[in-house]
């Protein structure tokens, strides 16, 4: 059954149940993935999945919802019935409607959908990558975490008001995490992830090189003294921290009382005026881009921080109505509609004269800590309180030398961090979660074992 046929079937079933107002989101996917262990196939996986989420509005305009993987005629009827029953418990305190933009034109780009290469090709490529990574350095003894996958999917949104939109995409991913061991030293591990529209778009050689270089660079390690340090965040680690505290930009979080911002925070100075942050789900480098959100609202570029000041919040239909603005294309369909950013882009604004441009991670000779990757975000971030305490992988640069930090955490407060940005390097780098340059922050606490 294709998406048009499902829409027709839902429409007919809704009519038969006398449900006048409904919408749905659906996803259909075919995935396969491989893992290897020292040249041998370890686990090969394939899946066909379908998920349908239906919302209905009852006569009191309260919303009920149901999710199912059963897309048979009886499954769809059952889902509508359950949603109708659930609507008796719909949120009386906050109304939900169709997005006013659900029928607006969407930006149609080349979806760059690729053809499947098949599991045998995936296996051959991953075996070859594993061998090359093992051969890249004598200390690399295994690649315990590895995988190559390809996924083909279709997403659909439609409603009883005639909105219908869908898109088809493909995506491939490669991850290689190597483990290095040397006598009388602790094992060290690091890795790399690459995404592409298809397997042929993935730069496998670069993934091997990154995984090898990163792992080897941590072989000579030392504990670090607990102290406050000048920090350079890699693009990836800075994006991790911004995403972890994205509730600052999130209207849903504000209404739920779990954001550091409030309804009147627009215009508030959050950081140095040299900082701009955008959410740009349609960015050409975003492999996972979606032209519309869970409510059918078109995705668009939105400025979140402009010259250090909070410029916009991200919205769903209901939060936008409460804030008297328009939805921004960040909704996730659910009984309680969620709101989340798509693809964060960090850049230096025009107002950057106060930055210490001598701080460049590739040339600076003073002492600083380079944070390559932050870990355990779910455990170490208190988004509603603004605090974080996170383990990281990185290096201490001192006297012109760099040494891997054995085990340490960085702790602080997001508002303090943003206000203490002392440099934003010029070159932006593309990561799997967005784009950012290296960001320098003064005086953050590091806890180490030394």
């Amino acid at each position: 059954m294709n998406s048009k046929e499902i829409t027709t079937q839902i429409s007919e079933a809704a009519d038969s149940l006398n449900l006048k107002k409904w919408d749905y989101g659906a996803s259909f996917s075919n995935d396969c993935s491989v893992q290897v262990d020292k040249g041998e196939a370890k686990q090969l996986k394939a899946s066909q999945k379908q998920i349908l989420t239906i919302r209905v509005w009852n006569e009191s305009n309260l919303v009920g919802i149901t999710t199912t993987s059963d897309l048979s005629e009886s499954g769809i009827k059952k889902a509508l019935n359950q949603a109708n029953i659930a609507s008796d418990f719909g949120n009386k305190n906050e109304r939900t409607e169709f997005s006013p933009l659900a029928k607006d034109p969407i930006e149609v780009k080349d979806s760059k959908k690729r053809n499947p290469v098949g599991i045998k090709k995936l296996l051959d490529l991953l075996r070859e990558a594993e061998v090359k990574l093992l051969e890249s350095h004598e200390s690399i003894k295994s690649v315990p975490y590895n995988g190559l996958s390809e996924s083909f999917y279709e997403r659909v949104y439609a409603n009883s008001d005639g909105a219908f939109r869908s898109y088809k995409k493909s995506q491939a991913a490669l991850y290689l995490y190597a483990r290095a061991e040397e006598k009388n030293k602790k094992p060290r591990s690091s890795g790399s992830v690459k995404l592409g529209y298809g397997v042929e778009d993935i730069d496998i050689e670069s993934c091997i090189k990154d995984a090898s270089n990163k792992t080897i660079s941590h072989l000579n390690y030392s504990p670090i003294k607990t102290h406050k340090y000048l920090i350079c965040f890699s693009p990836e680690s800075f994006l991790t921290i911004i995403n972890a505290f994205s509730s600052m930009f999130n209207a849903r979080s504000i209404l739920d009382g779990v954001s550091l911002s409030n309804k009147n925070s627009i215009g508030e100075k959050l950081s140095t005026q040299a900082l701009n942050i955008y959410d740009d789900g349609l960015h050409e480098k975003n492999i996972s881009s979606s032209p519309f959100d869970g409510e059918g609202t078109p995705t668009k570029r939105l400025c979140l921080i402009n010259k250090g000041r909070l410029e916009n919040f991200i919205h769903s239909e209901s939060t936008a109505r409460i804030f008297k603005t328009m939805p921004t294309g960040h909704a996730g369909l659910g009984s309680k509609v969620s709101v989340s950013p798509d693809w964060i882009v960090v850049e230096k604004s025009e107002e950057n004269s106060a930055l210490k441009t001598s701080l460049d991670h590739s040339t600076y000779e003073g002492e600083f800590v380079y944070i390559e990757e932050l870990n355990a975000i779910h455990a170490g971030v208190r988004a509603s309180q603004g605090s974080f305490s996170l383990p990281f992988d990185g290096w201490l640069y001192k006297n012109g030398k760099k040494i891997s930090i054995e085990s340490a955490t960085v702790a602080g407060d997001i508002k303090y961090l943003l206000k203490n940005i002392v440099n934003i390097e010029s070159n932006q780098e593309v990561t799997t979660s967005g784009i950012s340059p290296h960001i320098w922050v003064d005086e953050l606490s590091i806890t180490g074992d030394a």
């Binding site: 394939a46 379908q50 149901t66 949120n91 779910h378 455990a379 509603s384 606490s445």
Partner: protein
């Protein structure tokens, strides 16, 4: 006639599917598989969220699917599908066979048909009618969130409930033929407190398995008092100073550290990857002699308990560490095949779309002989971790955990509350430093995410003392 034809051509829950399952298994073996396993599930879930004084979300969901796993030598191919017809299942078997590149189908594994059906679901079919109705749930959650409103510093109040009912059929070419119904219910309360620039949060979660009436028995007043008290205690807390120090970890959810830092390293998946430092340490001392640790799936009502695992084996009680000596690993079918460690009834998966893997169930450090006060009195300068947040373990065994509610210990007494603490270490270095175990073992429910998805588990321990650990702070 028509009815029986339909039944023979697709899986019907509540009916005998033996002929169809045998046909699928024969088909896979005929194509050259060493082993064929079929896992089929039917789910009926619902969740409810109350915020402040309103129900803001009621989310039912249902669905069904199958996971087919084929082994050839030590490799396995896994295919999942929503198509439970004979054709759909056969197609999945073919796909798995093709993935494994099995071309030699001359050597046939012997299959004598499925054994007698072991039906663990017989006494459980009534559960769906015994669990609380949405009306009951919404009423109790609203009363619960109301009881969190104890002063004007509480700015956010939430109560949540979820119920997962999973019906499974498991069949495999070793004759296994099992049906079961699993019921898991959880309920949680969360608050955020605020006063000027100060903020704190508090949360508690409760959970059970196989106990349809448990939610009705839940003491929401006690839970609300506990959450409120925790958030108030932490509201004006200072940040902890970082450093090395002795700590006392509270019972119940304090056990999350053992689960994450050591338990995962005792799963055979870690041996397969070569990522556990304990691989060759069986019958060697890996922990302080005061430590005995257990993983089991049999405690009645505990969140990680199960009648049968996702590979059709009844769970056993596994003593992992006895008086500091490593005695056993947690193993599933693939683990036994690849590492030689016998299965322990620990093959678990989130749902049909994951292949089972060796996973913990109810995992805890056994009780010792000391009182909580003994442990605290033995420390002149340290930290008491009353409530733990989440944590993680890196690929080389380093772990870190957030302390949600902590207090300084000075001269054997609890003093000021402190926030922002993180415990950092490595299992093989910390385990020998657990020098005292309390006599107050208690368990707490949780969700564990790993290779085969998110599964229900219990963590637990008595109060324990770690002689020295790195505490991250500011």
């Amino acid at each position: 006639m028509l009815s029986s034809q339909i039944k023979s051509n697709e899986i019907i829950f509540g009916s005998c599917n033996k002929d169809l399952l045998e046909e699928i298994i024969f088909y896979g073996l005929g194509l050259g598989a060493d082993f064929v396993e079929i896992f089929i599930e039917n789910i009926d879930n619902s969740s409810v969220l109350a915020e402040e004084d309103f129900i803001t979300s009621v989310s039912p969901s249902f669905g069904r699917g199958a996971g087919i796993r084929i082994f050839k030598d030590k490799k396995d191919g896994f295919v999942s599908t929503n198509d439970l017809t004979k054709n759909g299942l056969m197609r999945s078997v073919s796909q798995a066979i093709e993935m494994l590149d099995i071309t030699d189908n001359k050597k046939r594994e012997v299959f004598n048909g499925l054994d007698k059906h072991r039906d663990y679901s017989l006494s459980k079919k009534k559960w769906i009618n015994e669990v609380p109705s949405i009306n009951e749930i919404t009423e109790k959650l609203l009363v619960s969130t109301k009881s969190l409103k104890k002063n004007n510093k509480i700015i956010t109040r939430k109560g949540s409930y979820s119920r997962n009912l999973q019906e499974v059929i498991i069949a495999s070419s070793d004759g296994t033929y099992v049906s079961d119904i699993r019921l898991h219910q959880t309920v949680g309360l969360n608050v955020i407190a605020s006063d000027a620039q100060y903020r704190s949060s508090g949360s508690r979660r409760f959970g059970s398995s196989g106990m349809p009436h448990e939610f009705r028995l839940w003491d929401h007043e006690k839970a609300a008092n506990d959450v409120f008290e925790s958030s108030m205690n932490m509201l004006y807390a200072d940040y902890v100073d970082a450093g090395q120090m002795p700590v006392v970890l509270a019972n119940k959810f304090g056990g999350v550290i053992f689960h994450e830092a050591c338990g995962h390293l005792l799963e055979t998946t870690q041996i397969e990857r070569g990522t556990t430092p304990f691989e060759n340490k069986l019958n060697e001392k890996i922990a302080h002699e005061s430590v005995t640790a257990i993983d089991e799936g049999i405690s009645e009502g505990s969140f990680g308990s199960l009648s049968v695992d996702d590979e059709g084996m009844e769970p056993e009680k596994s003593v992992l560490i006895k008086d500091g000596i490593l005695k056993k690993f947690i193993s599933d079918r693939a683990g036994e095949l690849r590492t030689g460690h016998k299965r322990t009834g620990s093959g678990r998966r989130q749902n049909y779309s994951f292949a089972a893997a060796s996973r913990m169930r109810n995992t805890y450090i056994a009780k010792g002989e000391h009182s909580k006060e003994d442990l605290i009195n033995s420390i002149s300068d340290g930290l008491y971790c009353k409530s733990m947040g989440g944590g993680s373990v890196g690929a080389t065994g380093q772990f870190n955990f957030a302390v949600e509610e902590g207090y300084l210990i000075k001269n054997g007494k609890l003093t000021n509350p402190v926030k922002g603490a993180t415990l950092i270490g490595e299992a093989k270095e910390v385990m020998p430093k657990i020098s005292m175990c309390g006599n107050d073992l208690e368990l707490a429910p949780g969700f564990c995410g790993s290779i085969s998805g998110s599964v229900n588990v219990t963590v637990g321990q008595p109060h324990i003392k770690v002689d020295s650990i790195t505490v991250g702070g500011r």
